[in-house]
């Protein structure tokens, strides 16, 4: 269902805000599958990189090339924000919204909504106002709403930053299932433990520049730059 998988290449991408370079130049290719964790200290440009890939950030220089036509790229992607954005509607309507936007028929929407409510453990809260859910429930709903379109690529920006252990584990389980189902995941996190648990590959950013890109096992065992080593050691790096 999720195939054909898609890959992406960034060609010397630079993002500037008010004359200051916040990202780049970055040259990078990501394969069509796997779970990539973006690591780096605050202000390294992690969120900006995600937004560039998602296509919602204006690129000052360079280009982003997807393996499928641009028109289809956005529909094949989903994005989960650090603080979940809830539509002022019921849980059911929040789940249904992305499907309504692309004109899926009602019966199909209804069955997928129920399916995802179960997967996210919100089946009893379907008619509950989404903005009144707990933090963990909101993030699960946001994740369900992102996955309900069965995206080929899913971006997550610190999805578990404000969550307790239980919610974090439930989110990770959903993400694990999603990768198994073939969704390409690119996610930022501050939680090195989470990174070790989930990552196939790692991108390490600092001051807007890409310092390392490689297999997770190799990165965590023996990072090739001293900055990454310092970061893994928990040192403050500037």
């Amino acid at each position: 269902m999720v195939s054909p998988a898609i890959s992406v290449c960034l060609d010397s991408v630079v993002v500037k805000r008010r004359g200051k370079t916040v990202l780049g130049p970055v040259d990078l290719c990501l394969q069509a599958d796997g779970f990539t964790i973006v690591l780096g200290p605050n202000g390294a440009g992690k969120t900006t990189l995600l937004k560039v890939l998602h296509g919602v950030e204006r690129v000052s220089r360079g280009s982003v090339q997807w393996s499928i036509p641009n028109a289809q790229v956005r529909e094949a992607q989903a994005y989960v924000f650090q603080s979940p954005i809830m539509l002022r509607r019921s849980v059911r309507q929040n789940l249904a919204y992305p499907l309504q936007l692309i004109g899926i028929d009602k019966a199909e929407i209804a069955s997928r909504v129920v399916d995802w409510a179960q997967k996210t453990g919100l089946q009893d809260a379907l008619d509950f106002p989404a903005p009144r859910l707990s933090g963990g429930e909101k993030q699960k709903l946001a994740l369900g709403r992102a996955l309900i379109r069965m995206p080929k690529v899913l971006f997550l920006d610190e999805p578990c930053a404000n969550l307790d252990g239980r919610s974090t584990r439930e989110i990770e389980e959903l993400l694990y299932d999603a990768t198994k189902a073939g969704t390409r995941i690119i996610m930022t996190t501050h939680d090195l433990g989470q990174a070790r648990r989930l990552a196939d590959s790692v991108l390490f950013l600092m001051n807007g520049a890409l310092h390392e890109h490689g297999a997770a096992s190799k990165f965590f065992a023996a990072p090739s730059t001293s900055e990454a080593q310092a970061f893994l050691n928990g040192d403050i790096i500037e």
């Binding site: 998602h54 919602v56 956005r74 529909e75 989903a78 994005y79 924000f81 954005i85 539509l87 002022r88 509607r89 919204y97 992305p98 936007l101 106002p129 903005p131 009144r132």
Partner: protein, 234 residues
């Protein structure tokens, strides 16, 4: 105090006996102000929302003008509409002066900026909340406006009700363009002005209480219809 009490009694008497004139002018008040409200909302709600999500060159200027128009003195609006609709004015051939249509036109001009301005403020807030999600979901402009209007309907209703309150309580403009003609353009507010002029404070105040009750009933009815109170705090 005696006069206020007499006014309360007069109000009850008029309502109790279902005074034919009272019913007529009350219905006309409703007809004029509700029509004005519908037209003004149809213009102001999409415009205010559009203004909240659209970035364009003269946006700040437009918003400043809109906020200034919110304070348009009704009497001046009335005078200008009067001069436009007068037989010797540019739209005189339409013969609209001293008709309910003229009153509706004046009220639309008075309340559209008010509704648009409140809408813009409410929608700007909601848009900053929804912005990232709606952009991420790759929504079209139309889908964004629809989502904002639908999810902001409670605040939009407040905006519309503010407009209605201003319209139905307004006297300066409709007195000028309507002429307060008995059985043609007399509404509650102009009747109150007339009775005050005659020194009949009890009747004037009675009509005033009817007007207040009417505003209250319309507000409650709209709230009940849209079940906003039950939806509670989002």
């Amino acid at each position: 105090m005696n006069e206020i009490w007499a006014g309360v009694q007069e109000a009850f008497r008029l309502i109790f006996i279902l005074d034919a004139d009272l019913i007529e002018i009350t219905l006309r008040s409703l007809e004029v102000s509700l029509t004005a409200l519908v037209i003004a909302s149809a213009l102001a709600l999409p415009f205010g929302t559009w203004l909240a999500i659209r970035r364009f060159r003269y946006r700040r200027f437009t918003i400043a003008v809109l906020n200034a128009l919110m304070g348009l003195p009704p009497v001046v609006v009335g005078l200008v509409v009067y001069l436009l609709l007068s037989r010797s004015g540019p739209f005189g051939v339409m013969g609209l002066l001293f008709t309910p249509t003229a009153m509706i036109i004046a009220q639309v001009i008075i309340i559209t900026p008010l509704i648009a301005s409140i809408t813009h403020q409410a929608m700007r807030e909601l848009w900053s909340e929804y912005h990232d999600l709606l952009i991420s979901l790759n929504t079209t402009k139309r889908q964004r406006v629809v989502a904002l209007i639908w999810d902001g309907r409670r605040t939009l209703m407040t905006a519309a009700l503010a407009g209605f309150g201003r319209a139905i309580g307004e006297v300066g403009a409709i007195m000028i363009v309507g002429g307060n003609i008995d059985h043609a353009t007399r509404v509650l507010t102009t009747a109150i002005a007339l009775e005050t002029g005659k020194g009949d404070f009890a009747l004037a105040l009675g009509l005033g209480f009817v007007l207040i009750t009417l505003t209250l009933v319309v507000n409650l009815a709209i709230h009940a219809l849209s079940r906003t109170e039950q939806e509670g705090t989002w």
